[in-house]
Amino acid sequence: MKILVAVKRVIDYNVQVRVKEDGTGVVTDNVKMSTNPPDDNAVEEAVKIKESGKAKEIVAITIGEEKAQETVRKALAVGADRGIHVKVDRAVEPLAVSKILQKIVDKEKPDLVFMGKQAIDDDCNQTGQMLAALLGWPQATFASKINVKESSLEVTREVDEGLETIEVNIPAIVTCDLRLNEPRYASLPNIMKAKKKPLEQINASDLGVDTKARIEQIKVEEPPKRKAGIKVANVSELVQKLKNEAKVI
């Protein structure tokens, strides 16, 4: 079995994002970037499946500018076998991303495609489902547990009401929740080895996919700020404030 894992380079989850003064976006210069957190879970799960002997090859793919490669190198350092970097020089919407991934799936013919359920930059939560639709494959979204069977996957999904289990036939798309596993850290020797693993570069324009934006970003602004509150001295003052000042209890 072959698993394709898609990873995205985003502003690190610990960074307090700042909006640009001209309203065109958020500040990315000199800001720490890393792999989208649930994409790390996707890589980890693929590696675990390979370690269990149920997969032969893991291919990590990213789509983005030159530096997006770092995310693939990180995936290679924790166990992916080779990488693909599809180069684009501007932000691409999930629809275009899924069309690019579809082209790669046509070429690579993986049995499974894993990715995070949502990227923490645009918070869209679309790409996996879109790719599944374009390929006509089943989708197991928000996965917190995956059981690989002979020709199917049993996947536990995190839904609003609790947990749901579905069975999807392979080939399938899985989008991963943060609770799926605990991503490992790359060891220094493995980081060195990863530098020698093959990483293919493809220009998005060569794939014949239209990556033009369909959604116009008119402006990006700071959300309304909450006005600073007060500290109360003790519980009894807190309850009095809630009762008589805020009138919420």
Binding site: A133, E221, I230, K231
Partner: protein
Amino acid sequence: MSVLLIAEHNNKELRPFTYNAVSAACKIDEDLHILVLGNKSEGVAKSASEIPNVKKVIHVDNEIYENFIAENYTAAIMKHADTYSHLVCSANTFGKNLMPRIAALLDTSQVSDVIKVISADTFLRPIYAGNAFATVKSNDKKKCVTIRPTSFEPAPATGGSAEIVKSEPGEAFKNSKFVKREEIKSDRPELGTARIVISGGRGMQNSDNFKLISAIADKLNAAIGASRAAVDAGYITNDHQVGQTGKVVVPDLYIAVGISGAIQHLAGMKESKIIVAINKDGEAPIFSIADYGLEADLFEALPQFLEELNKLNTIQK
């Protein structure tokens, strides 16, 4: 222009967020139709027809819709999509799972998690865990939109009498199968719609200590929430998680206990009307957004809090 709203339900009744989605959909266009896909779901179609402002209900009843499998839903929705300018549903796990599958087949770039309808093609949506708001304009002919339910008031449930039109099911998808659902039953209000939410974080230390939270929740008729740290640590089940990748809540009162206030958690609760933070670390970021902060050991503060509540003559329910 006309809008097709995909109803979320449990085959017996509409799920509450469908009413919020109706309010948002009405702001896009007044010609609003609701599509109910379910199994033995006549009651749902009837409830949908009673929502004022709904012009028509399309009801497709078949066993393949029993468990709301997105692949089956999509085939049915595609049969009707041609007639509409907008397809809308809630941005909860139901809509997040479903809508992109439809959007891709319609070759339209979806607008996710809308918090304000500015016009029929322009929307406001949070990005970066709500640390920025983006105004976006969709240039696609057909628009697929998911709306953040807590940003819109629920539409009234009765007063309307739309016609219900029966329609044929779409093709069944063979490669996905529902196995089981583990719903956590609770007598408490639903987290997404509760007037008061009390949440615990890593500071709770173990699942047993959540009893301190539930005692207060009982007293206030509140829903119980949790930070991702508390869920990851196994103190409480995932359906309680509030945050960027969990639920977004906008209660009148949000009480954060033993929660430091990571960006990811704030994304799910910072629009709450009144925020209370109880934390022994006076520097915790949660205090910067709290209306009332109490720097205290939660194991002392929570029993005192319950005691003080017990002293009150009346408590709003």
